[in-house]
Symmetry: C5
């Protein structure tokens, strides 16, 4: 006993500030030690590590026996059947989430109270009306989970929109002018895009995994599990006295119900509600991911486009280089001709009249030009020059 | 009670214009508030958000307890067992869909009326004939769903054809002439292609997901579920009086029927019909996707081809540059020779006859030419020049 | 009744020419309307659309209640338990398929007739011998399906071989000489390769999907389903009189047998035979796909190789350009020197003997050459040149 | 009867040489016709085609009713419950496999004989000891299958090692010197790598597919199936006399046991042993594939590296070209200056002293040099040069 | 018997040094032969091969009948229900793992002893308290497995961090200066990244595979299986005397419980605990993989960026080359002009005053400059020059 207390004191130093929101929508801040949280939520130490802000775990939603561990983007929370424990509640990005959660939970609590009041008045038939009247009321843990999902999805959606507003103009500017500055801006945008895409995909995969595994969803019906467990404790005694026949039947249960916890033996909640909830946010996050994919494709296309443009420009420059070299060649040939007449070897020409100077000059220049034009003509004909 | 009314009034401001098509094929426009739709269709607010034209959700088909939510491309509708609610019904692209839907539903209603009339006359044996006589009559919700799928598939098919007619000529023109204009056209086509591909794939994935999950398909048998539910309500009283044995059996149902809603306990419709319906449109949308993939591959191949062509052109230009440089080199050598004879240092040559001028000139030119040809010969032999 | 006839007349205009091959192996051409086919095969209109040669649906094999719809490459057929309906039977590529089908069916019919004859003579034990004697006899629909698969696989195999014989020489030629002609040939081969790959993959995926879904395979046991259905009709009356116990049991059937049609309730054929048949053709089509993948990788590798080769060639050309520019530089320096001595500014040198001319000339040339060699030496040492 | 014999004679021409290894480890060569193999192993013709060395089927392992068809790399064999039939047994690469198989089977047979001898002496308790004493003895078919897998995995492993020893030096040589020879060597290595990767992946996929499908594994328990079948034949008569109750139960079997053959109805072997066997070879083949993937990545990285290096070299060459052009420019400017003084237009300078010649010469050269250095300075400052 | 001993002696040569950690946390080194390990752990030879350090098997976790084979990164161990056998225990990277394992096991043993002591005092109610008090105590094999996973994950995490600290600066340096040294550093980092990514992915896939297959997880409950087996042995005799009814029921068990070993017939442990354990490490390893993916994307983006930058630089250099060529051209034109006046053909100009020299000079230079500026103007206007 003493040893245990010591251990607790040692570990107790690692307390964190949790914001606790109760079923009634009231919230207060608590300084709770790791060990105490483990006892309160039934979570092992390794599940708490997922929420550790230092370790940068990717988005994860885990259904445990008595709690749902939610690590969705900025939201790090533990949801139990009766309260929500939120980490980092002072973070400016988490505050609106906490407000929304408090408000939503409070409204529901009020509505529930009202409903109970009415029900007590006109019991049975009212329930039937409620049924046909609209969607069912979600249990506390799903109301909290929905606010978490909403907040995470909205945040990702917002970041996507912001990125979109930056990316498209930057890309269009880059295609019109390739400069180191523009390139670095686009590169920065691209790495943000990739990081955001990864985060969105992680949330999407997490939702998909949950939707694919019915038992994981069933695990999340904390309120129902709690209710069932209490009931079970009551009825267990009867079962022991039951005949062997019914025992076989319950064995059968065990088999089908592959991964249920020992405490929820034979408990199979109707996961319809949760499935519907997750599907809706799955559709939203898919929409966000679509936008990001489109942006990514646009970036890749722009890069391909720039590459082709640069290659094409390069060829135009090389063509211009060839044209200039050709021109140079014939001018040099002209220099040779002119140089020949500058040699100190005497010929009759040199004694002639000025007209001959102009004839020579003109002949040289025109000759070079004609040769140049012929060269260009053959170059174009051969297809080398555009 | 009062509180609830107030709430409704506040939210009631967000009314939308829905076109309601009843089972008889008649349609009328209704201004309905969000809350009222929720009550009418049993859908939660988050499912309605999927249909919101502002949020750009990707294509989604969701089977809910009393309604099918259809967000396929331009079609945003809610199908219940007795009516179809269509959003944006004034959109020119939606109008033909609405026409088709009205017509199809009306024909079916007429046929059903006729059939009932006949049946009443010569009951039993007629049913048998009908069975062997052709495919079965689809329930109302599937008739509506089929028109939705048909309209969405046709629209995607049409857009694909349009794009095909634009893309192939543009690409072929680009390969024959790389210009900024052509490049931008192709780039524009490519981004349209990518966007369209994404949309087609989304519809395809949605159909595949439905086909993969039998329970999701079962959820969509609204008419059958309704019928079963009514029946169930009748029989429930008997069950309560039943022996424990039968109770166990129905528990068994619950287990197998993993994700069925509480109201449809023990209800397992024959999903054959819906599977066949979806399979046919799945094949069609796969055909469309195949076309788009082929186009995409063609674009990529064209880009690769252009890149190799540009690189090859570049090398030809560089080769021409080397040829010109070589020529220039020997002309410059000629200039040196000629310049040497232009030096003011006296040698015997300078006192000689004009024949020597021509010999010098010819010797210089021929010497340069020979050296040039030798250089080119070695260049070609060494493999550097093509 | 009248209305229905009218409808039929109207739709009857869309008749097609079908080749009908009966169980006995005899074939005849029939002009059948769409509606009549639907009644004959129990297929809905949308399944018939899959066979429409105008719509270019990808390869599909669908098991329906009373027919198998086969759209494999060039073969568009409907297989029922007693006949095969083939479209486009006049197409030269379809004719060998029809021949093979007739022959195979006729042989089987003859063998069956013989077996029946023998059996009638020496019944029981013979059957046992037959069992140990070789593989079982396939029902009619699978014999037809096998011929379809064989024909489609052989066709794809042949196209692959043809492409292989063209592709490898063309690619090798391209690596040895990059010309626009060779590039276009390879590009053409590549797009054919991509298209063929897509078709082979489609057939492969279709077979894989069938093999993955046991219920889809069970749907294809048309003969067995027919036999079971008849039997069922006989026994149904007894069931109605049966006790509630057995009713529960058959309910149980329904649950497990998730997607079976209403008519085949409780019917679970042994899909072993069909699985074995499909597995064998799956292995063959995988072999074809392997060849195409290898070819595709070869094309991609060749492109990479050409790109590196072109880049390397380019650098060699640029190196040669640098060498030439360097040479030019020093020749130009020579021109300056020579030019200096051509200036009209008098120095003593100009009055000297011819020996000085040669000394100057030699000095200039040798000086330039030495500087050139030094430059090249440093260029090589610095790693820039080769 | 006669017809059948004829048929057999006709087909009998296609005999192959099979090496038959019996349960006792003795082997002999047999010339067996296709038809006779089909009767002996219960395989249909299309399964035999998979072993045909001409058709190049990819690696396949198929469990059939009375035989396992093994086509793993070089090993083409049929395994039945009592013998192994090996094709191509004369192939040098197959001989070690055959040796190993004979040896392994013989040892097992001896051990089994010894065990039986002991058992007969001291029966019951010995069995218990054996259980705790080590892994269980595998049935004949799995011993043979293990030798096949071992041989195929070892061969792939060896080829991978050989390739590794060639690839890494070749790639490193290429990065240090890009020559056509090196490029072609790397290209050849790359295509071998791709082909080997494909083969390894095929074997890996085949093992994974088997591990994923419990029924496929169950099909392979040939000895157990045979034992069960004999037993079944004995017990069937009793079943017929059994009550309807037990009949229902066996129906139930049929349902769960989805794809079992008619002969193995109700037979569900314990697939643990085979799963463990396959898992171990799966891990080995994954190790081989990992090595190949790493090699592949290395090749791709090397290519990227070469591309960047070539591009960088190119820019260095272009930079050098710009430097040379700039130098040339100023030398040409020097030529102009020198040329000016070579003009025949008289100025005072020309009448001056030799000092003026040297002043002019020096001024021109120094002027050009200064201008060149200024140009280079601005080029470097502007970032264009280095 | 003798034969077996001989065999053992022969194989006994292949002894390895194993560190054995018992349930009490005490450890000692043992030299154990392969055969002896096989008997001790019930593993076949091929499972032991997975741990062979020479064969470089990828990370694998296999649940066997009486042992878990763990090959995770540097940790090669066999976990049984009562001890852990560790290979390479002298390896410096394994020592901390061994320490941690000893410590963890010892603490648990102490706690268990304490708990037992307490329980014996105040039995029943204490257990209930413990239940609500925190997470359950893991069986020995999972405690060991958790330490293995923790050690492997931490090692991969550390390597990732080390790589991150090296990679980002190296990449940023490369973008600022492309040198062979920097390129080779980045290339080295990239290949390390790829190798590490492969290892992380292997561990992740292994965990995912385990999480996906409930039966594989169930196999790992060694302690529970052992307990169940003992119990089973006791109860088996009763079963034999049981009625046929209950026999049928247990047959049923067998069917559902598809891949359970014969010894664990009818044993279905609650895999919740193991699932939770694996999920937590799965989340951690996914976090590591995310970091590596991000790094990989960053490397790829950097390469793309460098390529565009190099291409852009190249074009700038070519542009500069064109500018220089153009300048050269006009300077050469100037040389021609100057050369013309150097010809020995007499014109009046030559007899003129020095002013004419300067006019000629100035005219030539200004003319060339103007032509150059015009050329550059048109070049810029035409878009070729920047």
């Amino acid at each position: 006993m003493q040893q245990q207390q010591q251990q607790q004191r040692r570990k107790g130093s690692a307390t964190r500030t949790w914001l606790v929101i109760s079923e009634s929508g009231k919230s207060h801040v608590e300084e709770v030690g790791k060990h105490s949280i483990m006892r309160r939520t039934g979570l092992p130490a390794r599940d708490l590590r997922i929420l550790d802000p230092v370790l940068f775990y990717p988005s994860t939603v885990l259904g445990r026996e008595r709690a749902i561990v939610v690590n969705l983007e900025h939201i790090k929370a533990i949801i139990t059947a009766s309260e929500v424990l939120v980490l980092n509640s002072m973070d400016p990005s988490v505050i609106p989430f906490v407000r929304e959660l408090e408000c939503r939970v409070a409204t529901a609590a009020a509505a529930a109270a009202a409903a109970t009041a009415i029900k007590n008045g006109s019991s049975g038939e009212m329930a039937v009306v409620a049924k046909g009247d609209g969607p069912k009321v979600l249990p506390f843990e799903f109301k909290a989970l929905e606010v978490c999902l909403e907040s995470a999805c909205r945040r990702l959606e917002n970041e996507t929109s912001t990125l979109e507003q930056e990316a498209y103009p930057a890309l269009d500017e880059l295609t019109s002018k390739i400069s180191t500055l523009n390139l670095q801006r686009v590169r920065h945008i691209k790495s943000r895009l990739v990081a955001l895409y990864g985060r969105v995909q992680k949330v999407r995969d997490e939702l998909e995994n949950l939707l694919d595994d019915d038992m994981d969803m069933a695990e999340m019906y904390l309120t129902d599990k709690l209710a069932h467990q209490l009931e079970d404790n009551d009825s267990r005694n009867d079962v022991v006295d039951g005949d062997s026949k019914s025992d076989d039947e319950s064995d059968d249960d065990l088999k089908t119900n592959k991964s249920s916890s020992g405490n929820v033996t034979g408990f199979k909640p109707n996961i319809e509600e949760l499935e519907m909830l997750l599907e809706a946010y799955f559709a939203q996050i898919e929409g966000t991911m679509n936008k990001l994919s489109t942006m990514r494709e646009y970036v890749d296309d722009t890069e391909d486009y720039i590459n082709i443009m640069l290659d094409d420009k390069q060829n135009q420059l090389l063509q211009m280089g060839v044209l200039l070299s050709t021109a140079n060649l014939f001018i040099n040939a002209g220099i040779v001709v002119v140089g020949l007449f500058g040699m100190n070897i005497q010929i009759e020409l040199f004694d002639a009249s000025p007209a001959q100077f102009w004839e020579t000059t003109g002949g040289t220049i025109v000759g070079c030009l004609i040769m140049y034009l012929i060269a260009i003509f053959f170059g174009k004909k051969g297809g080398l020059l555009g």
